[in-house]
Symmetry: D2
């Protein structure tokens, strides 16, 4: 099974990611790309933009999966999000990569892009600290 | 209309909050309390815990609504989340409060509790920076 | 040796804290208080306020020492600072406390107050994640 | 006066940066590089590494000066630091760049490298949110 298939399988076990329609479109050592189509009917905040919870979910998942490619199962202990521009898009694409993989902590970073037609605009960035856990 | 009713009305305009069943249970000047019942079928991450996206959504919404009680419409520009303990609960309760309300930025802080039976356990904390925006 | 004396001894081994004149004024289980007199000649940023580096130093040290009271030697892996008000004061007082002490990570939080005459004003808050390390 | 000379002049007005011997070695639109020689006698924490306060000072200053190249005078309202590796070096080099310059907030990011001989190792990263202020 390739790294991509492994992450797709893990992704399929997350009920929330299934609900949101998150897909893993790319995986390499220390990096991943996720994709999610916007649904205004259940993903918007009060002004119609993508809800901050979903911005955080995509960035955190991108960081966690990137960490997973080098450190196995991990849990996020900290993540932070910078909202750079209004999150308006037909599709959202999150790219995560590992900054430093230590034994106790993995540092990762991600960027979130809003796709409209064939244009990509960066709308948010995020950082996460992931803690490796024993495999179940 | 009371502060609580105003926030409940705003909350009802967020498609994501409606989907998640977030309710506003308390509001005062500079502070709010939110509540959300856990649904394992569409809110869990890969290990069955509450997904980090929903942890972030509750903390960010609690900070945003707390800021809203003193600063009107706001948008989050930054938020961060510390995951202190596994997010296992029947109901999750988020309490947000304003730390400092400036003209350009409002700083707020929130805590997330997991309720199991009649026990409350703090599972995460969060910070947010909100920017006041013109009313629509 | 009391907890306070232990921290004062550790504090005295930090060349930077000696230079800055940081003193440990209180220590309990999971909490500490630090104090530092402001010297405009070598502690200011370009506008004459306390330099962000020193704001960070006081908050990070307060978090680290608070963590040390329950977890022994620790190293900061992450810290963040919110600057709430201009850092103008004759003396700065930082109060740190442990939020959650886990085996792999300790979460702590601190507040920084500027003292002018007998008035205390909160000017910054900070969060830190500390990792316990082996004693030397 | 070039952008570099302007920043060097501003840098010279910061008492703390003068004490620390921070120099501005490069400046372009939205990016800067700072340099600082390590002095164990007054810059170390308890284990002899560069003190977190100075790590934060270099990252925050790099972010602030990068923001200054596009937004004039700014004040940091938030900064966060990830400590990736022990900060051991003869010289520390901080590189900051602007991620997004808005009217109300500028987002910037910086990396800190420890130089030993002709080797550079990244030891920390940081993020900052800067608020443009009126010129004095």
């Amino acid at each position: 099974m390739t790294l991509l298939e492994t992450l797709q399988q893990i992704n399929a076990t997350s009920a929330f990611n299934r609900w949101a329609g998150v897909t893993v479109s790319h995986a390499g050592s220390g990096e991943v790309e996720l994709s999610m189509a916007f649904r205004g009917d259940d993903m918007a905040q009060y002004a119609g933009l993508l809800h901050a919870g979903l911005i955080g979910a995509l960035l955190d998942t991108a960081c966690g999966f990137a960490a997973g490619t080098v450190a196995g199962n991990v849990l996020a202990s900290h993540f932070s999000v910078n909202c750079l521009a209004p999150a308006v898009g037909e599709v959202f694409i999150a790219r995560g990569k590992v900054i430093k993989a230590g034994a106790k902590q993995v540092f990762a970073r991600a960027e979130l892009f809003a796709q409209n037609g064939d244009q990509l605009k960066r709308v948010a960035t995020g950082d996460a600290i992931l803690v490796p856990v024993e495999a179940r």
